[in-house]
Point group: C2
């Protein structure tokens, strides 16, 4: 077994100093042709690669960014990761992933673990529990320590940082407007509890679209699902809730759901109740994931562009990091530039499939 070789070993072997080896390998013309050649040949032979940890320590930057998300077995979040990884890789960064599991405590633990030198900056989406508690001190703390954060999707105005969000409000408006154009008269909303910001915004969009089109919102047509429990494991509960909802409101001829699981489940329930999609009832979901694409009938959705969000977030973060060490600390102590934080809004569009006419 050949352990990785170090500068010191090369130096000893070739009877020169460590500095000479370092310079020769970086092609410094401070070193003679001869020795440079010799050293480079030797290094190649033994497949020398500088140790990343040592470099990180010296440069005080790790060239890795930390991703902190609530859940990874989730189409949207994994799409975001893919986007982040793409640009991170292109721009010479690695990604290290932490999962909060929607837990406030795990979110904090993870941040503290990573914030101690392991990464140069965060890209994260806030856990449900944190949103519920509205306790954001850990975000403020790490930002205060000079570690930049980019938030995506589940963001919060209380924290000043770069953000990437999808236009939840207008996405919902578009969806509902589409249903109205398709002649739906009684449009239902299946949503989550309000504390997750995106759910709230989509709900507001639903209401807005109704009102501007002369509809009067009917609270009976709004079904709020308690998603504090992981819905994936409580599918039956979800189904019966929706079934009851449909049965007590038989006039429903259009459904807007704030995520694709609710939408697909609504379609399944409709089918069981003998209601035909899209003839009797049309359905639009949010987030364009696997379910939407492969459901029968396939689901019309509001696209969420997870990969694009990831790419934008990564670019925002890396731009800031690169700027940091280009301009040195001046970048931060400069009071003028103090709060030039950007919020990128990704536009949504409707992807029409079989669940609408």
């Amino acid at each position: 077994m050949k352990k990785k070789i170090t500068l010191k070993q090369i130096a000893r072997e070739l009877d020169v100093s460590v500095s000479t080896v370092s310079k020769a390998l970086s092609g410094s013309k401070e070193i003679s042709e001869d020795t440079t050649q010799k050293i480079q040949a030797f290094a190649k032979l033994y497949n020398y690669k500088p140790n990343n940890i040592a470099l990180s320590l010296k440069n005080r930057k790790t060239k890795t960014i930390g991703i902190l998300i609530p859940e990874i077995v989730h189409h949207f979040f994994s799409t975001v990761i893919r986007g982040i990884e793409r640009v991170a890789n292109r721009r010479g960064y690695n990604v290290i992933v932490g999962l909060s599991n929607e837990s406030f405590a795990k979110e904090i633990i993870n941040m503290e673990m990573l914030a101690n030198g392991s990464i140069d900056g965060f890209i994260l989406s806030i856990s449900k529990e944190t949103l519920l508690k509205q306790d954001y001190h850990h975000f403020h703390a790490t930002i205060n320590q000079g570690m930049p954060i980019v938030m995506f999707d589940r963001v919060v105005s209380e924290v000043e940082c770069d953000k990437v969000i999808v236009d939840d409000f207008n996405g919902a408006v578009k969806a509902v407007k589409k249903l109205i154009e398709n002649n739906c008269k009684n449009i239902a909303l299946i949503t989550t509890m309000d504390y997750v910001s995106v759910g709230k915004l989509r709900t507001q969009g639903y209401l807005e679209a109704l009102e501007t089109n002369g509809f009067v919102p009917d609270s009976n047509l709004i079904l709020k699902i308690d998603d504090s429990l992981n819905v994936e494991n409580h599918l039956e509960i979800l189904e019966t809730e929706i079934a009851q909802f449909f049965q007590t409101n038989p006039q429903i001829d259009g459904v807007f759901a704030v995520n694709e699981l609710y939408a697909v489940t609504a379609m399944k329930v409709a089918k069981k109740l003998g209601v035909h999609v899209p003839d009797d009832i049309q359905v639009i979901g949010f987030t364009d994931g696997v379910l939407s694409k492969h459901a029968t009938p396939s689901l019309t959705t509001v696209s969420q562009h997870g990969q694009k969000m990831g790419e934008q977030a990564a670019n925002l973060l890396i731009d800031r990091l690169d700027a940091e060490d280009a301009e040195g600390e001046q970048y931060f102590t400069n009071k003028d530039k103090k709060s030039d934080f950007i919020t990128v809004v990704i536009e949504t569009e409707i992807i029409e499939r079989e669940s609408t006419k």
Copy 2:
């Protein structure tokens, strides 16, 4: 902005030496009560946390493990990551993720980036292109450098290391036997090209099950999909292929598909052709993902237990890493122990849903 505080700064502030601070914080009784108290209070006040990079450099271990997978927007792989992250976190490790995107080159690049000190060991699943090329030198190289690898799912006998696989062969056997018991007489197989090991094993299981039950395998009933292109984007091609397959073989009354996408698509195609599932044709897939659960009818599948695979893989790797620095290098130079590599086989079971009787 308060940058993270270091030992040196504490030392200067309290007018003691760095070593004293270090010892005081670790509770060494070499230091007097008084100073220990003073230092610990100061450290807590300024929220001192030791720098991970410095620790990594000193200890020559990073306490992070590298995950290298072909794709992350994929239910199975993300499940595995969740499993890895779970035990990694519990055992004090971080995870850093690289994506090969099914590319040989990206796989190598990623490994080289991470192998230079950033991680202590790998957990990976081989990319399709690598399997096709059958070039495994990069695995051998990193193993030779003393960095342990644990492979999962897509493994290869040419590389000696710990492995975690699912019992693809027997899973397929079970599935086909189930179809036979359910009175299917003409059981079709929808599979991938042979170079991906898991596909090959599942195909073999299909054949085995037929033969031991007195069936004669009919090559007309085997549909091999070329999955060199990303199927997600070529859904129509997949659908038309399956449609043709069904039409030229109307006798098919049972389908075993090596993944859930093929299975769900087969059901969709069947429905379009007016063939009823499960009355006219029964379908079983492999991998228990979102699609299986939420399809209508929901899909009977062979469970793949991604999370369990991840957990096992992580435990194998961390066991080895911990053993390494418990016994020192002796662990490795000890010739007796040289090839005590373990292959963990995760058992499969059939999850019965609506697509079978």
